[in-house]
């Protein structure tokens, strides 16, 4: 089967990201800062700062159940600034009608990559009194997106006038229990239609190795491009927050101890440690068969993302022929 998943019928590439992955490049993605305002320049400026450093950037969908400028709008503005977006969709705030409508809307506005998620519960956000939707789950959404693109119909079976050109992504968290379910669950998502996956933040490389071996045994690595998220901590407080507040994050004690050792050092020293840790993680995951790229996350740390990409030897970014 090689690296080309079947079911690709549009003849060209849906996105630049897809073209790079299919060309065998090790890709770099990052997360754009969610904006709490209606100023398009804020998004464009944030995106412009990553052009040339990453191949695509994720636009989160009301992350942690906090309202922000919409992911579809952010994706469009990022594309405007020359950065290819990965538009995230969660099942928390919209039913299947709205999700399908927005998949078409995103594709029409330059959102050529979509990352389809279940989403954090509303209790994680600042509107815990609201009604969560969860009409369908992320796996349903993957199959619906794939149906729209490849069969040219809505879930109902009603025909689309033109199928959306989208590269379909899933998330998976190898670091959360029940661990044995994680690889088969991603396999299920690939069966449902996912073509690339962005894994949760990795602080535990040995656990990632086991997960990737399991994926290999399930035949998933031939059908899905796997990227792993790497956190660039700017402070020890930041990594503690990840461990204690964000559900599903596994920060092993030895990793925490390393950061605790610089907890009283000046801020720059803490950032230095965060960058060093990110660089070591990137070097380690690049050695794992099947890891096809990294997804960098740093809260308000665009300069740190650029430094890490540069120091990891990932520059210049390749040019994609789409």
């Amino acid at each position: 089967m090689g690296v080309h998943p079947p079911g690709f019928i549009t003849g060209g590439y849906n996105s630049r990201l897809e073209a790079l992955l299919r060309a065998g490049e090790f890709v770099v993605t990052a997360e754009l800062q969610a904006q709490d305002g209606g100023d398009p320049e804020a998004v464009r400026a944030d995106a412009a700062g990553l052009v040339g450093y990453v191949d695509a950037a994720n636009c989160t969908d009301n992350s942690a159940a906090h309202a922000h400028l919409s992911a579809i709008a952010a994706g469009h503005l990022a594309a405007d600034a020359g950065l290819e977006p990965i538009v995230q969709f969660t099942c928390r705030d919209r039913n299947r009608i709205a999700l399908q409508s927005d998949l078409l809307g995103a594709a029409a506005l330059g959102g050529r990559n979509v990352l389809l998620l279940t989403g954090d519960d509303v209790s994680a956000g600042d509107h815990p009194e609201t009604r969560a939707i969860f009409d369908i789950d992320s796996l349903h959404l993957m199959r619906i997106a794939r149906t729209m693109r490849d069969e040219g119909t809505y879930l109902s079976g009603r025909k689309l006038s033109s199928p959306p050109s989208i590269f379909i992504g899933a998330a998976e968290n190898p670091f959360a229990p029940p661990h044995h379910v994680r690889a088969p669950r991603l396999a299920k998502k690939v069966d449902a239609g996912a073509e690339f996956a962005q894994l949760q933040l990795c602080f535990n490389v040995p656990r990632l190795r086991i997960f990737m071996e399991e994926l290999g045994e399930l035949g998933v690595l031939d059908r899905c491009f796997v990227l792993v998220s790497v956190y660039i901590a700017r402070s020890v407080r930041g990594i503690r927050y990840m461990r204690d507040v964000v559900p599903g994050i596994d920060v092993p004690d030895e990793v925490m101890a390393r950061f605790d050792a610089v907890a009283d050092a000046p801020r720059e020293r803490q950032t230095q440690e965060g960058i060093a840790f990110a660089l070591e993680t990137i070097a380690a995951v690049r050695e794992i068969p099947g890891i096809r790229g990294v997804h960098l996350i740093s809260i308000n740390g665009q300069a740190e993302i650029r430094r890490v990409v540069e120091r990891a030897g990932l520059l210049p970014r390749p040019i994609a022929a789409v």
Binding site: D121, Y154, L155, A176, P177
Partner: protein
Amino acid sequence: METAADGRPKMGLGTRAILLVEKVTKEPLWDCRMCGQCILHSTGLRCPMTCPKNLRNGPCGGVLQNGNCEVEPDRTCTWVTAWKRSRRLPLWRDHMEHVNPPVDWRLEGTSSYINFATRRDKRVPDGWRASKERAMTERGARS
């Protein structure tokens, strides 16, 4: 069984009697939420509708390191229990791998026994069926 024009099963007296039996047995036994389209065989006999996100196809990425639910941190994740129990089942173990279709919310509160007998619970949207056939072909192509 006949269905009403809006796709909801009709609720005659006999239906209500079966529904009553189902409610009083399944609710205490499985913590059943009466979705009307039972998939307990593919969830290790743990009702998936007890998941606050209504997940029908496995655990979300927010399961806490102790195996508890991120939304209700004082209890075990529905899918952690489902996985453990599915390993102990004499049959249906591999049903955990099934891709379960989206919920038909019209069936909520109706009898899954009747919906099973009439195959009403097997009815899926046309687009779901088409993509299932494509997925099966792909699976066949690579094996």
